[in-house]
């Protein structure tokens, strides 16, 4: 049910999504360590409130584009954790049949147009998708697209160009910037001249900046923006201040580069979306959810690790949607 308006108001539902993402990421990190997930991941831990809050403001038919740090968005929009975990472990049962992995996880049936390995690339795709979806939908209510991206993305030309197109053409897209203070090791102060929201308002796009650690704050901010976009008021921009609790990429667990002070990390981790939302539930309710999430995650891992791997002979399958089979590399 995640992602449907029904659960939007419900604190337990929000908590469940945060918890689901958190535990999913923790287990995924285990699987990176154990070698079951090859290539590593960009953990979303600490930023869960954003995916949970924003997606709670969306309807099932709405769309999202995600990033290299995309697990949270994909799960919050309703993807099956089991098929997601199967994707990360490269199985045929994965969302992308093992072809995409962490950085390209997608579920078009849920409007998840994909994580993207190129920073800033999703904005224009989301704008086009929202424009087309609303147009194809005829007189029905517009389908809104949310494009998630980080603070580093606001320095990408193509994203700024996308802001312009969306504003000119009044596209029902909501741009959500997850400002976690860093683009890998570079601070926002060293990377972004002016303010993050100024990048949107320059194009006449209304921009709001909120605490991205509180799921309900995020939802409360996102809901009106989503509905404004749906109502034809054009693109909207939401900046969520957050903090990445873990590594930029699990590669850091070995390399341990130094770029955040102890103090900075301690301060950043001091507010945890899981606690913030959890505090709104009774211990009993919270325990029920935690246990249910544990089962979901355990089942997801079991499903993933028990699933078959795609066969190398099919490595070129899906390369062309038309079914065209290209020449192999050796004849």
């Amino acid at each position: 049910m995640t992602g449907s308006p029904a659960v939007a108001a419900d604190p337990a539902a929000l908590y469940r999504v945060v918890r689901l993402i958190r535990r999913f990421e923790e287990r995924a990190i285990d699987l990176v360590r154990s070698g079951e997930i090859v290539g590593g991941i960009h953990p979303y831990i600490g930023q869960e409130a954003i995916a949970a809050g924003v997606c709670a403001a969306l309807r099932p038919e709405d769309l999202i584009t995600s990033t290299h740090r995309g697990h949270g968005h994909v799960l919050a929009k309703g993807a099956d954790p089991a098929r997601m975990m199967a994707e990360l472990t490269g199985r045929s049962t994965g969302l992308n049949r093992g072809r995409g992995g962490s950085m390209h996880a997608a579920d078009l049936s849920l409007g998840v147009l994909g994580a993207n390995g190129i920073v800033g690339a999703g904005g224009a795709i989301a704008a086009g998708a929202a424009w087309a979806a609303s147009r194809l939908g005829g007189d029905g209510p517009a389908r809104v697209a949310v494009s998630f991206f980080g603070d580093g993305a606001v320095n990408q030309g193509v994203l700024l160009e996308a802001f312009n197109l969306a504003a000119l053409w009044r596209v029902p897209v909501v741009f959500v910037c997850e400002n976690n203070g860093y683009a890998t090791t570079l601070t926002v102060a060293d990377a972004v001249a002016g303010g993050v929201c100024d990048r949107a308002t320059a194009f006449g796009i209304p921009a709001v900046s909120v605490d991205g650690m509180d799921p309900q704050t995020v939802l409360a901010a996102a809901a009106p923006l989503v509905e404004a976009a749906r109502a034809g008021l054009g693109p909207q921009f939401l900046e969520c201040h957050t903090y990445r609790f873990d590594a930029h990429h699990t590669w850091e667990h070995k390399a341990r580069p130094r770029y955040r002070s102890e103090a900075d990390v301690a301060e950043g981790r001091s507010r945890d979306p899981l606690d913030i939302q959890g505090a709104r539930l009774s211990d009993a309710d919270r325990l029920v959810i935690d246990n249910e999430v544990e089962r979901v995650i355990a089942d997801a891992v079991a499903f993933a690790l028990g699933s078959p791997r795609p066969s190398p002979v099919d490595a070129l399958e899906f390369l062309y949607a038309s079914g065209f089979r290209p020449r192999p590399g050796v004849s």
């Binding site: 994965g94 969302l95 992308n96 049949r97 093992g98 072809r99 995409g100 390209h104 997608a106 579920d107 078009l108 049936s109 147009l113 994909g114 993207n116 190129i118 690339a121 904005g123 224009a124 795709i125 989301a126 704008a127 086009g128 998708a129 929202a130 424009w131 087309a132 979806a133 147009r135 194809l136 030309g157 193509v158 160009e161 996308a162 312009n164 197109l165 000119l168 399958e317 899906f318 390369l319 062309y320 949607a321 038309s322 065209f324 290209p326 004849s331």
Partner: protein, 323 residues
């Protein structure tokens, strides 16, 4: 029969496809006024919702088109100059092209990229005279380079109907072509199928785009010394290898005239595959632009770096003389 120009054939294909399928739409710079001529008249026929002028934001409107294609539309993106394909290379080669495989077959991106006036326009200098179709053949984006008005119509129509991204290069050197055609008989030309533009028995000349006309003229000039078969691949990726092999079975000799830079260009691929797999009785030869060519402004210099009929003639003669 009616005289149809290459440019009008492109416009006609667009109009016919837009009529046939309401999900087809055009976007690009100055397409409403129709500065490239190809889209002239479409605004009046299909209205501003389907003929969309874009700001100078090629990267964003390219991926915007991809986004609309993901939802089932069939965008035709017009680029005013070939080097805009460099500017949007990430959006085409790394996004549009990769969606289908990366999503495990969930997504399809039926987008057409049209460059009316590729290659040299004479006097447009270094940044407006590129002919980069080989770049797309390398990354594996379907690519066509029509030589005739009928093929311009048929290949653009097929590109629009294809479920993968397709780049359509309309060489500046071919835009002036006119042919006497039966309008009713115009129809899609399948991607990946070449055509023998002139049958011959001594040597196969693979000619791309506007050079097909050059090859036919040279073949005619040489008709008393050598029987030249002119093979027009029409699609440069995927290439019609079976068609080429059949031609080489007949001739056993190969010359390629290709307006790409020499190194790693289409000509290289044709020679390489022929050398690997096909019948060759003498060493094959290429007539191309030089390595790393940047076309200088001055007319004589611009021409000097493009493949010429004279170069093709002497190359054919050399191949015939070879032991």
């Amino acid at each position: 029969m009616t005289i149809l120009s290459y440019q009008k054939a492109l416009g006609r294909a667009l109009g016919d496809e837009m009529t046939r399928d309401e999900n087809v739409y055009v976007l690009g710079e100055d397409v409403r006024v129709g500065v490239s001529n190809v889209t002239a008249g479409l605004l009046g026929r299909f209205g501003p919702d389907r003929v969309i002028d874009t700001p100078l934001s090629e990267q964003a409107f390219t991926s915007f088109a991809t986004g609309t294609a993901l939802m089932g539309m069939r965008p035709v993106v017009e680029f005013q100059i070939p080097s805009l394909l460099f500017l949007t290379f990430e959006q085409i080669a790394n996004q549009a092209h990769k969606f289908s495989l990366m999503t495990g077959g969930q997504a399809r991106v039926p987008v057409t990229f049209l460059v009316p006036g590729s290659g040299s326009r004479l006097g447009w200098a270094g940044q407006h005279s590129d002919h980069p179709y080989s770049l797309f053949a390398h990354v594996g984006v379907k690519t066509v380079v029509p030589a005739t008005p009928a093929d311009a119509y048929g290949l653009l129509a097929s590109a629009i109907r294809d479920d993968d991204p397709v780049v359509v290069f309309a060489p500046a050197g071919a835009l002036g072509q006119r042919a006497d055609v039966d309008l009713a008989a115009l129809s899609p030309v399948p991607l990946g199928v070449g055509r023998v533009a002139r049958p011959g028995t001594d040597v196969t000349v693979v000619a791309v785009g506007h050079h097909v006309t050059d090859a036919l003229a040279v073949a005619d000039d040489l008709r008393d010394e050598v029987s030249v078969e002119v093979f027009d691949p029409r699609t440069v990726y995927p290439f019609d290898w079976a068609g080429l092999a059949a031609s080489l079975e007949r001739t056993g000799r190969l010359v390629v005239i290709d307006d790409s830079n020499r190194s790693c260009g289409l000509g290289a691929e044709v020679l390489a595959t022929a050398a690997e797999e096909m019948r060759l009785v003498t060493p094959p030869r290429r007539v191309t632009r030089p390595d790393g060519a940047v076309l200088p402004f001055a007319e004589a210099l611009d021409r000097a770096l493009q493949p010429s009929r004279a170069q093709l003639t002497t190359t054919i003669q050399a191949v015939m003389k070879a032991p």
